[in-house]
């Protein structure tokens, strides 16, 4: 990019050169609605380094998307409130910034793409115009030059015949191509972090593979950090360096993806693995997790997974399990993590 903006300050505050790209610590988000208070995120911590991919894995209602919106600073407030914790971007605390300063960080330093590209794009403007608008608004690039940059970007995300397609409207693109347009917009200002919230959930599997490959390639080129929010264990296994497994707003297991997949230390993670059929091997019978995901308004005291957990004992109702260190990098929020991790010890 031709821009010569300094990347050594965030909203006027100098960055800490030794700090990781993003550190989220003990993040709490709640929604105060008529029916009560929903603790959507209840103590989430992770670290994202340059060029790394952190996957936040969870089912519906786990709080994974809300946690990303909190990092991005786009939670509707009210009803949503970030009630605690810290989000440090290169050492600068984002939660302390004014709304105006956060807006400057958004898109420029941290960008986000969503599941549904059709609603995320403006239907009444051509896509090329929308991408060019990013350069015009944030960088003051003149109209013509912005247009050229937009076409360049569309080529970079491999939209065929980008020059002619720049004049097309979002509905004239297929789902996969729309997702590429959204990626192009997100990358327009060279963000250091890209948050991808279920980027491929609405897409067919062959298109999903294309988009994930594109993201990996772009990440390699730019060295950006990627936060991948998804429920898909397969996608996570393919791209993530670190995995955070969330359940009912809490992080239940966290670590590098290989140990988390091969020696899960939380019964929920283990249950997810066991309930998943695979395309590469024959599975005899699935072992599902019993019950349904919890009602966020009525999370039981103690361990939130207890009602569905085959390992649950009395202590689980009394005490919420703290994060126990399985290894120096791998933690599990289970009283019986040792027992759980023995399950796959032979593997």
């Amino acid at each position: 990019m031709a821009t010569t903006l300094s990347r050594d300050a965030v909203a006027g505050r100098p960055v800490d050169p030794a700090a990781p790209l993003l550190v989220v610590e003990d993040l709490h988000v709640e929604f105060r609605i008529e029916a009560g208070t929903v603790r959507a995120v209840n103590g989430l911590s992770y670290t994202l380094r340059r060029g790394e991919t952190v996957a936040i894995l969870g089912e519906s209602g786990s709080g994974k998307s809300v946690s990303a919106q909190a990092v991005m600073g786009i939670i509707d407030s009210p009803p949503g409130f970030v009630t605690g914790g810290s989000v440090r971007f290169r050492g600068v605390e984002l939660l302390d910034l004014s709304e105006a300063d956060r807006r400057r960080v958004r898109g420029d330093r941290i960008a986000m793409i969503f599941q549904d590209a059709l609603t995320a794009l403006n239907p009444v403007f051509p896509v090329g115009w929308q991408i060019a608008e990013m350069f015009r608004m944030h960088r003051g690039v003149p109209r013509k030059e912005a247009r050229e940059k937009a076409i360049e970007l569309m080529e970079r995300v491999k939209i065929p015949s980008a020059r002619t397609r720049a004049g097309s409207y979002p509905h004239e693109f297929s789902g996969g191509m729309r997702q590429r347009v959204m990626i192009a917009m997100a990358l327009s200002l060279d963000p250091e972090i890209l948050i991808a919230d279920e980027p491929t959930t609405a897409l067919d599997v062959t298109v999903q593979a294309q988009i994930m490959a594109l993201l990996a390639e772009l990440q390699q080129q730019t060295g950006m950090g990627l936060i991948l929010i998804t429920h898909d264990l397969g996608v996570v296994a393919e791209v993530a360096d670190q995995v955070v497994v969330m359940y009912a707003g809490r992080e239940v297991e966290k670590g590098p993806s290989l140990p988390v997949y091969h020696r899960p230390a939380h019964p929920y993670t283990l249950g997810l693995m066991d309930s998943l059929p695979r395309r590469d091997v024959h599975t005899e019978r699935l072992r599902p997790i019993k019950g349904s995901p919890p009602d966020l308004l009525a999370i039981p005291p103690g361990c939130p997974f207890r009602p569905r957990c085959p390992y649950a004992r009395d202590i689980c109702a009394a005490e919420e399990p703290p994060l126990a260190a399985v290894t120096s990098e791998h933690v599990s929020a289970c009283h019986f993590w040792e027992e759980v991790s023995r399950e796959r010890a032979g593997a």
């Binding site: 067919d204 062959t206 393919e238 693995m273 590469d280 019978r285 072992r287």
Partner: protein
Amino acid sequence: MSAPAPDPIRHGEVVLRVEHLVKYFPITRGIVFKRQIGTVKAVDDVSFELHEGETLGLVGESGCGKTTTARTILRLEKATSGHAWYRGRDIFTLSGKEMRELRREIQVIFQDPYASLNPRMTVGDIIGEGWRVHPGVMPKNRRRARIHELLELVGLNPDHINRYPHQFSGGQRQRIGVARALALEPKIVICDEPVSALDVSVQAQVVNLLEDLQDELGLSYLFIAHDLSVVRHICDRIAVMYLGKIAETGDEYQVYDNTAHPYTTALLSAVPIPDPAARHLGRRILLEGDVPSPADPLSGCRFRTRCWKAQGVCAQTEPELIDRGQGHPVACHFAQVEFDPAR
């Protein structure tokens, strides 16, 4: 060629035979005077057989025609041409009365557990509705008890008979949908993406439930899905569809381990394996571009624009779905059918 050993998976007799099924949707313009400006060839000459007690998977990406095939068999859409034989009777030619009778035998489970249950009806009314149409199935005085049994059978609390759908979670609602389908004691259940709207942890519950019910009741499933892993797990035989046509059919080992059609190869390689150690194993085939629109049909093979094997012949001649002797029909000029000595 020696006759292959009898396949243990082929269960009983054929219960459903679909022959040359075609469903075209006209694209029209105009309000009062409609004129046709094109045709979407949603299903284009599809044939298959479903055996008693068997699960046949119809798998493919969106727009491949798998759901339309199911809806046509159920006569929720009118077939453009072709036949669907249920025990010697052609479903497409039955009168309204005959069709109502036949509906007892073929039931359906839908994808979206939120859209498939009438929010204004209680669970009991939803499950029992079929008996109003087919009063002979269950005498009036047994109905309430029967609903209790069905709720237990699908793993729900029978005391919830008077509750409304919105009081249940997605997985529980899907079980209610299963109970409704079973109330008429059908022979065939068409499952249209029955688990794809559910959370992973709940998906497996419903898959297991469907398997148990099949074992107990001898049901035949036509299982429509886009998730190749679930299909591999639950199906005895699989038909892969692309743009309204079947590309390849066979059993699990034929389709997944001895893949013969390049589209299936690409489709399978796109499905991520939930194991970080498998990340760099195997060749990843990335298809170019998107599925072409079924509104402008291609000459020859429909997959040729995205196929790395395509040659001149593929543009000229449409490959037919041919069994090359292994019981593994493939619609490709360059099909890679291997003889599997293990079988």
